[in-house]
Chain length 590, copies 2
C-alpha cells in the first residue's frame, strides 16, 4: 500500500496577472512542502487566471504564460520544493493552436504537460472558441504511485480521458478545475467526482478555483473522492484553503498504454464517438519508482459544515463584490440608497465584502420621493455605519423637464438619469466604484432605466430574482440577530410595497404582476425553456403569461443574457458585455 | 450537355421574423419561376434570419422554424412553384441538437435537408455554441443534373464536403451563405469559390444574404464560378437582387456514394483528419432523371462595376444604419451634432440611409463650446435638410458641478452626460432611435465618456478608425460634387483640429498622439496581434508605443471587442453586447 501526501491549493487567481499568480503558486507550494506534501495541485488556468476570454488569442500573452511556467519550475526548485510534483494550470500555445494546459513541475523542470481534451462551449463557457483539444494522456510515477491528470470538463463528459486512465491503470487522478458556482452545484459535483473515481479505479483529488472573476464566481469546494463512492476530505466553500491529505493507494506498477476506443454512452458528442476519435496517446513517465517507507499519516482534516442554499448565495454575492472591486483596484464603492430592498441588500453585501468604511451611500430624492424612502435610506446607513450623503436631484430634473418639454415616461426616466449622472460624477471625483443594484426580475422584464438606475461597473444581484432578494434580506437580518448584532436591513425596506417612485403614488404592481407569480413564470420561460403553451398548461393565467412573455421578448436581455437552460449561477454579469473586466496583463516592456 | 436555369435570390432576412421571411421566399420564388428558373436558391438561415444567437437554443423557436419549412413547401406548390427546386436555409433541431440546415423543397414537400458540416467559431461566429455538425451529403438529380448543396463555412475549410462531392460526382453545387462583409472580402471570396468549383469539378452557385442584422452587415456579392476558374455571373453588392442564369452542364449520371476519407491538407482541424471523421453519408435522390429539351438560354446579365474600397465601406455603413432602424421599428433618429467630423459623417450616413426628414440633429453647447462648433453643426443640418434644434446644457452642468463640487475630469464628463440625458429624453419623448457617433480609434483608447457621448442604440462608425472617417467624408463630398449636389459635410468640420471641447482650448492631441500615427499603431496592435517589441522594431517611437498600448490595455474594449486578427468588418457593434438586438420572434399564441 504505497502512501502519498497530496495538497490541494484552493486559491484565488486574477485574470491576466501572470506574475502575481506565479508568486502565489510559489508561496502556497512552500507551505504545502513544509507540511510534507509530495504532490501539490493548483486549479485550472491558475497562472493566467480564468476566464481570460479573447486575451487567450494574443500571441504575446501565450508566450508570457509559457515562459512563466518554465521560470516557475526553476524558482520552485531553488526554493527547495523541487522534490514535490506541482500541478499547475496555464494557457499554452503550440502548432495546433491555443491550449488549456496542466503542467507537472518537478526537479526544476516541466516534466510533462497535459492539454484539456473536452472544451465546454455552452452557458458561460466559450472554450471551443479559444482552445484546441488535446489527445495525450501523460501518467507520472512518483514514489511508486501512478498519477494521471485531467482538467475540469474532462470529467463532465462521458467516455473521456478518465475512462481511458481507468483502462490503462493509475493509482490516483488529479483533476484541476475552474468550475463556476451555481445554486446547489455540489449536488451535481459530488456524485460526478465519485463516479469518475470509480471509472478510474483510483481516488480522485479535485481542486477548484475560489473567488470571483468578472462575471463568474468560483466556490472552491475542493474534495477527494474514493472509487468506492466515499468523500475522504472536503474544503470549505468561498475561502482560500490548503487541504493536505494522506492517501493509502493500492497497486502501482501499471504498464499498459492501450486506450483503443470502445463503445461509449448515448449522448456523447459525435466527434467523441468510437471511430471518430484517435486513441489517446499514453505517455508513462517515471520520476521515483519506489514507494516511500511507511510513515504516520496526518490526522484527518475536519469537514466543514455545508452551507444552506441562502447562505451559499450570500457568500457568492459577497465574493463577487469583493473580488470585482479588489481585482480592478477600487478601494471604495458608491450607489444610490433608495430606501428600497434592492439597494439595501446591495449595501449589506458591500459592507460584508469591503467593510462599512468603504461604502458611500447616496440618497437622491426627487419631488416624488416619499418621506419613508429618505428615512429608510438614512436608517440603512446608520445600521451599517457607512458614509452617507443626500444629493437631491429635483432641481436638475425640473430644468430638463421644462427645457425639453418632457412628459410621461420621458419625465420618469430623466429622474433616474439625473441620479445616474450624480453617482457617476461622485465616482469620477472620488474614485469610487459605482454598483448597480438592479435585480434579475426587473432586468428580465425591462423594468429599469438605461443610463439611469442601470449605470455602474458591477451589478451584484443582477442574477438574483426579486423573491430571492427578500429571502436574502430576511436571512441576513436573522444571522445578525443570532450573533447579537444589529440587523443591517431596515424592516420597513423589507415589508413595504416596492416602488420606483418616479410619479405620484407609483408602485411596481402598477406595471408588473405580483413578484411571486412573476418570478415563477420567468423561471419557467427563461430558465426552464417552457413555451407559452407549457406555462398555460401548468396553470398560469393565459393573459398574464402573454403579458410577461411580451415583456421578456421585448427586453434587450432576451436573446443575449438568458439562454434557455441557464441556472441561477449568480455570475455577476451574465453574458452582458457592457462593463469593464479585470485584465492585469500588460505587454512585457524591456 | 444538360441545361439548367438557376436563380440566386440575394435577399435581406430579419432575425426572428419567420413568417415575414417565409413570405419573402414565396414572393421571390414566384418571380424566379416566372423567369423560368428550375432551381431557386436562398441564403443561409433565410427563414430564421442570421445570426439568431441564443434564440437558436429555444425549443419553441426551432419547432416554429421546422413547421414553417413544411408549410412553405406546400404554399410554394399551391402557388404554382412546385416544379422548381427551392433551396432554403433555416434552423432545425433533431436528436443530435440544433442544426444550421438547408432544405430542398419540391412538389409541395421537403425532399431532403442538408446540415452544415463546418461550424465557424471565431471572430463574429459562435456556431459551435449553437449547432451540431452534419455528416450527410444529399445529392438531387433534376432534369438529368446532379446537384449538391453546402453551407457557407463548408467551403472555407479544406477537406470538407465539396471535396467529397467532387469525388462522388456532381454537375453543379449550390452554396448558400450568410457571409458578413469585411473590407476587401471579395479578394478572398472569389478565388475561394472558384477553387471549390474546381474541387467539385462543377460550377458553384454562391448566394449570400444582403442587408444588416444588428452587429453584422452582409454585402450580397452572389456569384457563379466555373471549375475552370471563371466567373459566369455576379450580383451587385448591398442591394437585394434576383440573378437568373442558364448553366450548360457536363455529365450527369453519377452513381458513386463512396466518400471514404483520404489525406487532407495540413492545418485541417484534428477532428476532420483522416480516421477522425466518419465517411460522409451520401444520399442520391432522383426527382427528374431526364435532361430538358434544348432551349435558348437567357442573355447574360450585366456584371456590376466593382465598388472602390471607400464606396464599399460607405455602402456598408448606410446599410447598417438603415436596417438597424427599420428592423427595430424606428422611423426617426437623433443624436448630438457637435460640429466635428464624427457626427457630421454619421449625419450624412443617416440622411443617405433614411432620408433627411428622419434625422433630428441636436446641438447641445456648454460654456466651453466654440462658436464654430455651433455654426458648423447648423451648417451641416442646412446642407442635409434635416431637422435641427439647439438645447444648451450649460445650466444643468453648472448645477451638477456646484452641488457636487466637481473639478477636472469629473467636470468634463458631466458635460457629456448632460448631453446624454438630453438625447435620451428626446428619444423617450418623440420615439427617435439615438445614434452614437464614436469612432473605433477613440473607443480603442477609451477617449469617450461612458453614459455621455457613448449613449445610444446603434454606433454606425464604431468599427471605423478616425483616419478612415476623414477619408469617408472627403469621398462623400466628392461624390456629391460629381453629381452636381451640395457636399453634405461642411469643409470646416473636415479640416479643423478635432476637440472634445470639455475644457477651454482643449484639442484631442492634448491627450492623444496624431491620429495618423495612432491608427497605424492600433492597426498593428489590435488587428495585427503585433507585440510591443514588434511595433518598436517596425520603427515606431518606443515611448509612444508604450503610451498607446497602455491606453488600449486599460480600455474596457481590449479583451472583448478586438480579438487579435479581427479585420475592419464594419460590423455595427463588434462583440459589444450593450444594446438591443432585433428579435421579431414571438412565442406563437393560440
Amino acid at each position: 500500500m504505497p502512501q502519498l501526501r497530496i495538497a490541494l491549493a484552493q486559491v484565488n487567481a486574477c485574470a491576466g496577472d501572470i506574475s502575481g499568480n506565479s508568486s502565489m503558486v510559489l508561496d502556497w507550494t512552500r507551505r504545502a512542502v513544509r507540511e510534507g506534501a509530495h504532490v501539490v495541485a493548483f486549479p485550472e488556468m491558475v497562472l493566467s487566471g480564468y476566464p481570460v476570454e479573447d486575451l487567450a488569442l494574443r500571441k504575446s500573452f501565450a508566450a508570457a504564460n509559457r515562459s512563466e511556467v518554465d521560470a516557475l519550475a526553476l524558482r520552485l526548485h531553488e526554493a527547495g520544493c523541487g522534490d514535490a510534483v506541482v500541478v499547475v494550470g496555464h494557457l499554452d500555445r503550440d502548432d495546433e493552436g491555443v491550449r488549456n494546459a496542466a503542467s507537472l513541475l518537478h526537479g526544476g523542470e516541466v516534466v510533462t504537460t497535459y492539454y484539456k481534451h473536452h472544451l465546454p462551449n455552452y452557458g458561460v463557457f466559450d472554450e471551443a472558441r479559444y482552445f484546441a483539444p488535446g489527445y495525450d494522456l501523460p501518467i507520472v510515477r512518483l514514489h511508486g504511485v501512478d498519477i494521471g491528470v485531467v482538467i475540469c470538463e474532462d470529467i463532465w463528459q462521458n467516455g473521456g480521458p478518465v475512462t481511458a486512465l481507468g483502462r490503462v491503470g493509475v493509482d490516483a487522478v488529479v483533476c484541476i478545475n475552474g468550475s463556476p458556482y451555481e445554486l446547489a452545484k455540489d449536488d451535481q459535483r459530488t456524485p460526478l467526482v465519485t463516479r469518475r473515481a470509480a471509472e478510474a479505479g483510483a481516488p480522485m483529488a479535485y481542486v477548484n478555483l475560489v473567488g470571483a472573476q468578472d462575471e463568474l464566481v468560483f466556490d472552491g469546494d475542493s474534495l477527494i473522492a474514493t472509487p468506492e463512492g466515499g468523500i475522504l476530505a472536503r474544503a470549505p466553500q468561498f475561502v482560500e484553503h490548503l487541504m493536505v491529505h494522506d492517501l493509502d493507494l493500492t497497486g502501482g506498477g501499471h504498464t499498459s498504454t492501450d486506450t483503443s476506443p470502445e463503445p461509449v454512452e448515448e449522448g456523447t458528442p459525435l466527434h467523441f464517438r468510437p471511430g471518430a476519435l484517435p486513441a489517446f496517446d499514453v505517455e508513462r513517465i517515471t520520476l521515483q519508482p519506489e514507494p516511500l517507507p511507511i510513515y504516520e499519516p496526518m490526522p484527518l482534516p475536519s469537514t466543514p459544515e455545508p452551507l444552506s442554499d441562502v447562505a451559499e448565495v450570500w457568500s457568492a454575492l459577497v465574493t463577487g463584490v469583493r473580488d470585482y472591486a479588489h481585482k480592478n483596484g477600487f478601494r471604495s464603492v458608491t450607489f444610490g440608497f433608495s430606501g428600497g430592498i434592492d439597494s439595501a441588500v446591495c449595501a449589506a453585501l458591500t459592507a460584508d465584502a469591503l467593510g462599512p468604511d468603504a461604502l458611500y451611500g447616496v440618497s437622491m430624492p426627487s419631488k416624488y420621493s416619499t418621506e419613508h424612502s429618505r428615512s429608510d435610506a438614512a436608517e440603512l446607513a446608520r445600521r451599517l455605519g457607512c458614509h452617507f450623503e443626500e444629493h437631491p436631484v429635483g432641481d436638475m430634473v425640473e430644468m430638463f423637464v421644462d427645457r425639453l418639454g418632457l412628459t410621461g415616461l420621458a419625465e420618469e426616466n430623466v429622474q433616474a438619469r439625473c441620479r445616474g449622472v450624480t453617482v457617476m460624477a461622485l465616482s469620477n471625483q472620488h474614485g469610487h466604484l459605482v454598483l448597480t443594484p438592479g435585480n434579475k426580475t426587473e432586468l428580465a422584464v425591462g423594468y429599469s432605466t438605461i443610463y439611469g438606475d442601470s449605470v455602474g461597473g458591477f451589478a451584484p444581484i443582477k442574477d438574483v430574482p426579486k423573491t430571492l432578494v427578500w429571502r436574502l434580506a430576511r436571512w441576513r437580518n436573522a444571522e445578525a440577530e443570532k450573533r447579537g448584532e444589529t440587523p443591517p436591513i431596515p424592516e420597513n425596506s423589507i415589508s413595504k410595497a416596492p416602488s420606483a417612485e418616479l410619479r405620484p403614488g407609483q408602485v411596481d404592481t402598477d406595471s408588473l404582476p405580483p413578484y411571486e407569480t412573476l418570478d415563477e413564470i420567468l423561471d419557467g420561460y427563461v430558465e426552464g425553456d417552457h413555451s407559452y403553451a407549457d406555462l398555460v398548461a401548468a396553470g398560469f393565467d393565459a393573459d398574464l403569461v402573454e403579458r410577461v412573455l411580451q415583456m421578456v421578448d421585448r427586453s434587450e436581455y432576451k436573446r443575449r443574457q438568458y439562454p434557455p437552460g441557464t441556472k441561477i449561477s449568480l455570475k455577476a454579469f451574465g453574458r452582458d458585455r457592457r462593463l469593464p473586466v479585470t485584465n492585469r496583463w500588460r505587454e512585457v516592456r524591456p
